[in-house]
């Protein structure tokens, strides 16, 4: 049960990454920086207006959607067509910049948000669950449901899927690929920040925050086959399950090693994600 709650969290963290990769074939190394920045904006809102982090995340999402769009229009657009290494290093540079702007604004200390319900639990049947984890799970699920609706039902959503499948063909079909790319970069950035603000309910954070979650998000999307919506859900669930069972056999401090190891193994041995294993067996 705990694993499923964790999986919901991982899915929110990862979908932004998968969306940007899908449409632009671009690995967003600034994902961690955006998550961290989202967390700090939520903190500031909480300090200034006693705003609940969940409400804060709803403000952060459109804010960073705009930030992502602006970033695309000014910087990312220029390098979207160059070698993968160029975009990778550029976004990595952006991560460094975000991290250090956060240092300059908020300093180096561990920050956390404590709400009225931080330490309370609820009982479902014989299970007792932390309220914060349930809230994060529910908020994440709601966000993903809206996204799933957007991607599968709206015209723009269909265009996003078309561009992920085949950039050139989508362009020939008359889709404004530039606009779709800008939109998905904005959406991916917004989702990363949204995930960051939800994380404030569960963890304390510093400007270094996010690196670990970013790696886990990479792990999730690689397991899930990099682009598909279902893949992200499966990948999240698998990582969360392996982690929670892994703890039974190894020291808790080694838990993060699972994500790193799984990421490496998945990349090298099943670059098409878990789905490719299923397909290979069928073939």
């Amino acid at each position: 049960m705990g694993a499923i709650l964790t999986a919901g969290l991982y899915a929110v963290m990862s979908y932004g990454l998968a969306l940007i990769y899908g449409v632009m074939k671009l690995i967003n190394l600034s994902h961690a920086g955006t998550m961290m920045f989202g967390a700090f904006i939520t903190l500031t809102l909480n300090r200034a207006f006693h705003l609940d982090p969940v409400l804060g995340s709803l403000i952060v999402l459109p804010l960073f959607f705009g930030f992502g769009m602006a970033l695309y229009a000014t910087i990312v657009r220029r390098i979207a067509r160059s070698a993968p290494i160029v975009s990778l290093l550029l976004l990595f540079g952006l991560w460094l910049v975000l991290q250090n702007v956060a240092y300059l604004i908020w300093g180096n200390e561990d920050q956390s948000i404590v709400t009225a319900y931080t330490y309370s639990t609820i009982k479902i049947g014989f299970l007792s669950l932390a309220v914060t984890r349930v809230i994060v799970f529910a908020a994440g699920l709601a966000a993903l449901a809206v996204l799933a609706w957007f991607i599968s039902r709206t015209y723009t959503g269909k265009a996003v899927r078309a561009v992920s499948l085949n950039y050139e063909a989508a362009r020939l079909a008359g889709i404004n690929v530039e606009r779709i790319a800008a939109l998905s970069f904005g959406l991916g950035t917004g989702l990363a920040a949204f995930a960051g603000s939800l994380l404030t309910l569960l963890f304390s954070f510093t400007p270094d925050f996010g690196g670990l979650f970013q790696t886990k998000a990479f792990c999730v999307i690689v397991l899930g086959g990099l682009t598909s919506f279902v893949g992200v859900a499966i990948g999240s669930l698998l990582l969360a399950l392996v982690e929670s069972f892994g703890v039974l056999f190894m020291r808790a401090s080694l838990q993060n090693l699972i994500a790193f190891g799984l990421l490496f193994v998945a990349l090298v041995f099943m670059p098409g994600g878990l789905m490719s294993l299923v397909k290979a067996r069928r073939a």
């Binding site: 390098i79 670990l212 041995f269």
Partner: protein
């Protein structure tokens, strides 16, 4: 190496040999030791990252292995200098363990895989207290030679790295690396064993970085997993050649010098601003000219040289 490169290198070496005798002082020696260390790392990373265009974020693991091999054996009564080959050997073995599977990946996938390895090694080091001292680190013996000894040791290491880099660059091996960077499929179709050359460059870089890690351990007499396996070390090794000029002979030298100079001047005034500067520099370089500062310099000179019909060698190579 062209004749001009050789002359510049010899002149620089003479100046660097004179510095401790003319200027002296602890500060200058410290500055020299660390700058040479950074430059040698940058050159070592550039063999794979620059010549072959395979960007790795995992080189801190070689640095850490070198540092801990020296630290551990030194505590067990070995002579520090004799531990350096052991660290280099361990790093070479590890580079193959990582490289053999990881080089099945190309482009961004390879980068992400090395990122995972780099981060994982730090966690492993933190959790193997018996060897690494875990989160409390390792205190090493305090009887060490004077700073002048380290200045010259690092200078030798740096010159060694530079000569190796220059030799690789003009060899068959270096040309194979360039070929596979420009077009891996084409290189393979010409019969170049891509996996072999990538692994060779990776291992050679790992050995050089590990030796630097070993000397570093002796110099500081204290090592900690967060420090020698830290992500900052890996980031630094990526940033230096990229800032200076990826895949060039002098790029890592220029980048390493600038990198440490920026860090040294900003670290005391604004503790976190140095990474901000690196980040901005990286973004500007990627947008304007992915070939780094040397590439920018060429960009300015190019029209004039082209008019004279003397196109500088290497300008036609694509950015990695």
């Amino acid at each position: 190496m062209s004749k001009r490169d050789t002359i510049v290198a010899i002149c620089l070496l003479i100046v660097l040999l004179l510095v401790p005798r003319v200027l002296g002082g602890t500060y200058v020696l410290d500055l020299g030791v660390l700058t040479f260390l950074f430059i040698s790392q940058a050159i070592a990373w550039n063999l794979l990252g620059g010549y072959a265009g395979q960007i790795s974020f995992g080189y801190a693991s070689f640095f850490g292995i070198g540092a801990y091999a020296t630290g551990y054996l030194w505590l067990h009564g070995w002579e520090p200098l004799l531990t350096l080959p052991v660290g280099a050997l361990l790093a070479a073995v590890f580079s193959l363990i990582v490289g053999l599977p990881a080089f099945r990946l190309t482009g961004a996938y390879f980068v992400i895989a090395t990122l995972a390895v780099g981060l994982a090694m730090r966690v492993v080091a933190l959790n193997t207290e018996a060897v690494t001292g875990g989160a409390s680190g390792l205190n090493l013996p305090t009887q060490v030679p004077g700073k002048e000894w380290f200045y010259h040791a690092m200078l030798i290491l740096m010159c060694g790295c530079f000569l190796i880099s220059a030799a690789v660059r003009s060899s068959r091996f270096g040309m194979a690396l360039t070929a596979l960077r420009l077009d891996q499929a084409a290189a393979e179709s010409l019969g170049i064993n891509v996996a072999l050359y990538k692994n060779l460059a990776h291992t050679l870089g790992a050995v050089l970085v590990a030796i630097g890690g070993g000397i570093y351990a002796v110099y500081f007499q204290y090592i900690h997993p967060d420090q020698v396996f830290g992500f900052e070390i890996s980031i630094g090794m990526v940033l230096m050649p990229v800032i200076g000029g990826l895949g060039t002979l002098w790029g890592p030298v220029l980048g390493g010098t600038l990198y440490y100079a920026i860090q040294d001047t900003l670290l005391t005034v604004f503790p976190f601003a140095h990474l901000l500067v690196y980040g901005l520099l990286l973004m500007v370089i990627m947008i304007v000219e992915p070939r780094g500062l040397l590439g920018m310099a060429r960009l300015i000179k190019l029209p004039r040289l082209a008019k004279r019909g003397r196109l500088a060698e290497g300008t036609s190579t694509e950015p990695a």
